[in-house]
């Protein structure tokens, strides 16, 4: 059988091959330089933090043992053999878990409400350049400073307790959701908006009848997902005294109440699972309606 591919004459082929080799060479050099930079920065970083692979290897059994320990009761039995003893503080912990959920919910809702009013000022299709600049920098600031830093400061200003946690989560949520909301608003169809403006609608009417019907389901989706994220955030607010289950967890880890650590972790993880499933269901329904 003959092969139908015709070879180019060498005279034509040579420059093509040369160009191909050059292109390949340039790409390889780029990748190589990139890898070199990466390796150098990893080496520098490793030296900087005292990364010790030998220590890690020697301690890895400590890590796995730790999980063995936290699933063991004080009398040496595995926790599952005596759930009553394992969850001796169930009532107290459930209250704290409820508080954590409430902190997450309240913080998300407050943050989302303010983000709702800010996003129209930050959207390039609805606001002028000056107000947009101000709104965007404001949102950026809110989301770049970590929520736990806000919590640390708010604990000093508003006193210990969940209020500081709610406010810290609300501000961070405002920054994060504000950005996402703005992106949704910037992607709307402007025809309904123009229609309402052309009939003399006020700004509030324009937003209510022209923008909202297009964006509300997107807003709701992001807010629900944010609630999940915020539950995880609320679970550590207690580390700095800003309410929720974190305080109890911090104490348990620091004081080596091993079985309490696992009990609290399991409660948190199960809640995250349940929230995950519930948001999934709600979002599915929402997408069907919308």
């Amino acid at each position: 059988m003959t092969i139908a591919i015709q070879h180019l004459p060498d005279r034509q082929l040579a420059p093509l091959m040369r160009a191909y080799r050059q292109a390949l060479f340039a790409r390889r050099i780029r990748v190589l330089v990139g890898l070199l930079v990466l390796v150098l920065s990893v080496a520098l970083g490793g030296w900087w933090v005292g990364f010790d692979i030998a220590l890690l290897v020697s301690k890895i059994s400590t890590f796995t043992n730790y999980f063995g320990r936290i699933f063991t009761l004080d009398d040496g039995q595995p926790v599952f053999s005596d759930p009553v003893e394992w969850y001796w503080g169930l009532i107290k912990w459930s209250k704290l878990l409820g508080e954590t959920l409430l902190v997450a919910y309240t913080g998300t809702l407050l943050g989302a409400a303010i983000a709702f009013f800010t996003c129209f000022a930050a959207a390039s299709n609805l606001a002028g350049p000056t107000i947009r600049w101000v709104a965007r920098r404001f949102l950026e600031f809110c989301r770049t400073v970590p929520e736990i830093v806000f919590a640390l400061i708010f604990v000093l200003a508003f006193g210990l307790g969940p209020m500081a946690g709610v406010l810290a989560l609300a501000i961070h949520t405002l920054g994060a959701l504000g950005k996402l909301y703005t992106e949704i608003v910037e992607n709307i169809d402007m025809k309904p908006v123009e229609g309402i403006i052309s009939t003399g609608g006020s700004r509030a009417e324009t937003i209510f009848y022209g923008v909202l019907p297009q964006v509300w389901s997107g807003f709701l989706t992001y807010s629900l997902l944010r609630f999940e994220v915020n539950f995880r955030g609320a679970s550590i607010m207690g580390f700095v005294g800003a309410g929720g289950i974190g305080q109890e967890l911090l104490t348990a880890v620091r004081k080596f109440y091993y079985s309490d650590v696992s009990a609290l972790l399991v409660m948190i993880i199960v809640t995250v699972f349940v929230l995950d499933i519930m948001t999934g269901l709600v979002l599915k329904r929402l997408n069907r309606v919308g």
């Binding site: 990466l38 920065s41 990893v42 520098l44 970083g45 490793g46 900087w48 933090v49 005292g50 990364f51 010790d52 220590l55 890690l56 301690k59 400590t62 890590f63 730790y66 508080e99 409430l102 902190v103 919910y105 309240t106 809702l109 407050l110 600031f141 770049t144 400073v145 970590p146 736990i148 830093v149 640390l152 400061i153 708010f154 000093l156 200003a157 508003f158 006193g159 307790g161 969940p162 209020m163 946690g165 709610v166 995880r232 955030g233 679970s235 550590i236 580390f239 700095v240 309410g243 967890l249 911090l250 880890v253 620091r254 080596f256 972790l265 948190i268 993880i269 995250v272 699972f273 995950d276």
Partner: protein, 282 residues
């Protein structure tokens, strides 16, 4: 001018086209009840968290005092220490993210339907990823501190653990969305399973994964700034110390340092991400 549409007849129109103009009564009841319940829960939450006007007013007053005391931001005598801590923060983010990516990749491959069509491994791995992801980085930091002791090493491991799960999920989802045609092509020419993966899947997913890793590096720079609060290295330790001792000028300086570095990393990483996705579009 003739009136084209008589507004007083809006009610008639709404009645004739009620399906289009109005939501069903039941649907409206559900929305109304949902909103009402949500609002009740909000009020309950505010009461539970001890929100009160006097507390808000006095708190905002104090915040105002803090803000005034923050000017001008100044590092105090510990500037070199802060710089070192900032370097630590960056190193924690870099090493943690890379370590997580390297460790997560093989597990993600095993958790992908198109590579290993065996649901038990997939189910077990995915649920493990979810379990690890349910625990916040700061909690992992606490746990690693009790294993390797205080310091940035614990921070690296905490970031790596939390991201291992996130990457496991993300990578396996990316691998599953890979186009099966190149794989089929290689199989049809008699390629082995390893060659199918290397030449059929890997070229498609590598740029996407690189983008995801860069994005996480960006976001880890943020989380690595706070990991020091529990003693796992980085600038968070100094930040929380200065907040607790009410050294507001130093707090402001530290926050500014963090903001500048985060902005710089954002800039570099988004440039790199566009370069990667531009050079090899999936």
């Amino acid at each position: 001018m003739a009136q084209i549409f008589d507004l007083s007849r809006l009610g008639d129109v709404a009645a004739r086209h009620h399906k289009v103009m109005r939501l069903g009564a039941r649907q409206r009841q559900i929305i109304f009840a949902g909103t009402f319940l949500g609002f009740l829960l909000l009020v309950f939450g505010l009461i539970e968290a001890d929100f009160s006007l006097s507390r808000i007013v006095s708190g905002i007053g104090k915040l105002g005092d803090f803000a005034v005391l923050m000017f001008p931001p100044e590092p105090g005598p510990l500037f070199a220490t802060y710089l070192h801590a900032l370097g630590e923060t960056l190193a924690i983010a870099l090493l943690g993210t890379l370590l997580a990516a390297v460790l997560a990749f093989p597990f993600a491959v095993l958790a992908s339907r198109n590579v290993l069509p065996f649901w038990v491994t997939r189910f077990v791995l995915r649920r493990s990823f979810d379990t690890i992801r349910g625990v916040d980085t700061l909690i992992w930091a606490l746990i690693w501190i009790s294993v390797v002791g205080l310091g940035p090493f614990a921070g690296v491991l905490a970031v790596a653990t939390a991201d291992f799960a996130a990457f496991g999920k993300l990578f396996s989802e990316t691998i599953e969305t890979a186009d099966p045609k190149p794989v089929e092509g290689i199989r049809s020419t008699g390629g082995t399973a390893a060659q199918e993966f290397r030449f059929g899947i890997l070229p498609q997913i590598l740029p996407v994964i690189a983008g995801q890793v860069l994005y996480y590096f960006e976001s880890n720079t943020r989380s690595a700034t706070i990991i020091g609060i529990v003693g796992a290295g980085g600038i968070g330790l100094h930040l929380s110390e200065q907040i607790r001792t009410l050294e507001w000028q130093r707090v402001a300086f530290l926050v500014l340092m963090v903001l500048v570095v985060v902005a710089a990393i954002d800039f570099i990483s988004s440039r790199l991400r566009t370069a990667i996705s531009g050079a090899k579009p999936i």
